[in-house]
Symmetry: C2
Subunit: 464 residues, 2 copies
């Protein structure tokens, strides 16, 4: 997948070399010749990935990275720091200010491209979750590094370590648990790991190249990425020595990050923290979207779908009926004399009746039927793939389910007797099917039930 990469480097030769390398892979490249220029371009262009030199005359790469990661609008952009002096201290410092990786010159193309592909992919997935558009709408400002760390500090993250020999996994688990204040587990076999994650998927999994049972760590990585439960877990891969080809391969297989063994504990902790941060932020976005989706679709009192979703879904049932040529039914349901319940027993009693009515409705319909509360005491049911006879039977069953047993209300020991009037409209191809017309017809049938004395079902069917 292509994307836009911002290169920040004060040395022209370095910029030209990187531009050439990246353009050969068809990336769009933006160039900045100083730290401040880079920050400015990042703000204006919002690139997908930033490649950042360490030593620059105005502000150095560490400071640029720190500022990027403190800005809620830019903190989500992945940063790879590039340096000639690859000391462990420098690498650690880069990771701690929020860099996603630290590469040293001369750059290994394989490692660079695999890293960029990997970061580009996670950036695109993250952008989908943020739902950002050109008007800067979506889920509001992003999460800064400090806020991400506060999420980890608030506790509850869990990490699984898998390695053969098991002592190695245990050693890593103990050290990281202590450094990061996280819950850890360890095991030595791929199958054990798969069983553990199936029970309770951890936030992150650290996999060694060597796993017991003759399983290659890559197979475990691929199996974890393929499994719905761990698709969104962070996965770090331990690469023995300086094997860049393996590192590139595990990134392409979906590893979130890799490190060389034996690991520097401080570096492993920094990498693990970065991945946990990202995982917690993504989880938060997903849960916000899921909450929003529920609010957009569901009536809070009864848990049934709301009017808005019902009408939208009805459009789909109509489109499907057009395609399949099969019939379907729409029903309008209205509780009889409901106002008197509210007036005599108060709103809490009315709410209890509405909730119980919703439960009885749910028990009467099939999984593929749509049940919604349109508002007040008015409900709606859409049933795909039924004819007039079946629709009439189901409606009658609903009517009886309401009439047959009193509704339980606090302070009314004998319960309340409630009845419902129902209007059913059955349509099928090739007559013109329009949502508004369907609802009008069901409404007219409901009106007939009300005027026929309530507590009854009226069915209107069109001969095709």
């Amino acid at each position: 997948m292509s994307g836009r990469i911002l290169v920040i480097d004060d040395v022209e030769t370095n910029r030209v070399i990187l531009r050439t390398k990246l353009a050969s892979q068809y990336y769009s490249v933006l160039l900045a010749e100083s730290g401040y220029h880079g920050l400015d371009l990042a703000t204006r262009e919002e690139p997908d990935v930033i490649l950042l030199d360490v030593v620059m005359p105005d502000i150095d790469g560490f400071e640029v990275c720190r500022r990027l990661k403190a800005d809620p609008c830019l903190a989500h952009i992945p940063v790879v720091m590039i340096t000639a002096l690859n000391s462990p201290e420098e690498r650690l410092r880069g990771l701690e200010v929020g860099a996603d990786d630290f590469l040293s010159r001369p750059l290994c193309d394989l490692a660079l491209f695999a890293r960029v592909r990997n970061l580009m992919r996670s950036k695109l997935m993250f952008d989908e979750l943020r739902l950002r558009d050109r008007t800067c709408g979506g889920s509001g400002p992003g999460t800064t590094l400090a806020e991400g760390d506060a999420l980890i500090a608030s506790g509850g993250s869990s990490v699984l370590f898998v390695s053969d020999p098991p002592e190695e996994a245990q050693d890593w688990a103990t050290r990281m648990g202590r450094r990061l204040g996280i819950r850890t587990m360890s095991c030595d076999a791929g199958q054990t790991a798969l069983n553990i994650v199936r029970e309770a998927p951890p936030d992150a999994i650290v996999i060694s190249q060597q796993v017991r049972d003759g399983v290659d760590g890559r197979q475990l990585l691929a199996a974890l990425r393929s499994h719905p439960d761990t698709r969104q877990s962070a996965i770090l891969f331990a690469v023995q020595g300086e094997d860049f080809a393996l590192a590139a391969q595990v990134l392409d297989l979906g590893a979130s990050d890799y490190f060389h063994t034996p690991p520097d504990p401080a570096e492993l902790a920094a990498r693990l923290r970065a991945q946990l941060r990202r995982k917690l932020i993504s989880d938060g976005l997903r849960s916000t979207l899921r909450d929003g989706l529920r609010l957009a679709m569901v009536d809070p009192l009864t848990g049934l779908f709301n009017r808005r979703y019902a009408l939208h879904h009805l459009e789909r049932i109509v489109a499907r009926a057009r395609a399949t040529g099969r019939g379907f039914a729409t029903m309008m349901l209205d509780l009889d004399s409901f106002k008197s319940v509210n007036d005599r027993y108060g709103h809490p009693a009315g709410d209890a009746v509405l909730r119980q009515f919703a439960d009885r409705l749910r028990e009467t319909v099939r999984g593929e039927d749509l049940v919604a509360r349109l508002g007040g005491e008015e409900f709606f049911v859409a049933m795909p793939d039924v004819d007039a006879r079946i629709a009439a039977q189901v409606a009658e069953r609903m009517r009886v389910a309401v009439e047959s047993a009193p509704f339980v209300v606090d302070g009314v020991p004998e319960g309340l007797s409630v009845t419902v009037s129902i209007g059913v409209s059955v349509g099928h191809h090739p007559e013109p099917l329009e949502v508004a017309e369907l609802i009008n017809r069901a409404d007219a049938a409901l009106y007939a039930s009300k005027h026929g004395g309530r507590n009854m079902v009226t069915v209107v069917a069109n001969a095709a």
Copy 2:
């Protein structure tokens, strides 16, 4: 990225060959030996990609694909049909029952793997949008082939064709416009294409390998994929002759599909329809999520953030203040004697006052401040990075903005005089900052303003 692939083929040798090829790339492979077995496994396992043989004894691949694409729970899984007899008629039939591609035996590994990578990527992005989890929650059932086609038929899709010579692009545009009932544009130069999409991004773009200005079609493809406006457009790439290496490359660069030139118009139409279908379904999911997000965050009357979002956001402001050590203010605002507005002039007048008050608040604060309606006539403002002096100034400016001009209400020519009481709490590090405590303090300050005679500001600051 790894994933789970279901291979449906009645010939054991074929299954074994495919399993070996796919396992070498670390995919998890599921095998089915008949059409019915395949449908059953697809339902139970929900794989990421399905590779489907055409000729099978029980039901053939076309029928399996048709059933998959008619099932709302399975229709989103990409299907690649594989055959020994690659006739244009057969390929077209496969595309028309909803297959994403049609490959012929002996399989070219390059083409197969690039296609699987490409489909895996779009499947993962789509899964993020669907927000599906293990409990089958998320955005409800998926969209079947027939429903997708109904979306296209309802009109409004636009497609841009880019090719040199321009006659070729015009020819494709005319034919496809007629076949699919879509709006079309055409041009011959990459720069013109970029200008066109910047004005109004089309739903799909068809790019020829040859584009004017010495631009390689791949560069245009990469530029379009890099641009936020066209990142989500469908892009089809025209590959001259049987160049599988180029086809694999454009799929990896992010093309949604490719076709060989000169194209069979029926096949191009089928491929374009498939891509438009997918684009419209994704757009629909995005728009549902965006609506949900808005509903979850915003008070519908005033357009301000709601209580729920305000409290969530306040947690973030507190976390950020902990990290930066800078101060911040929270304010509670309550309109004075608001009940009398509703009682004397009715609820519509009250709503008009609340909306105008929200507008005046918005005009007084900075972009980074949070303004929310907590409910009724109670509002909330959080201001990061301010001290007590500035917070007091801003609150006073709000008070004056309300008092200084009457509120416009229908039927009250002189307008209504309204005042507001404000309580401000200013906190800064290193005192313990808890959201509940901050709100209690601002509430106490508001109480003091109310008891001090209303229409006033009270500031509570803690010495650090």
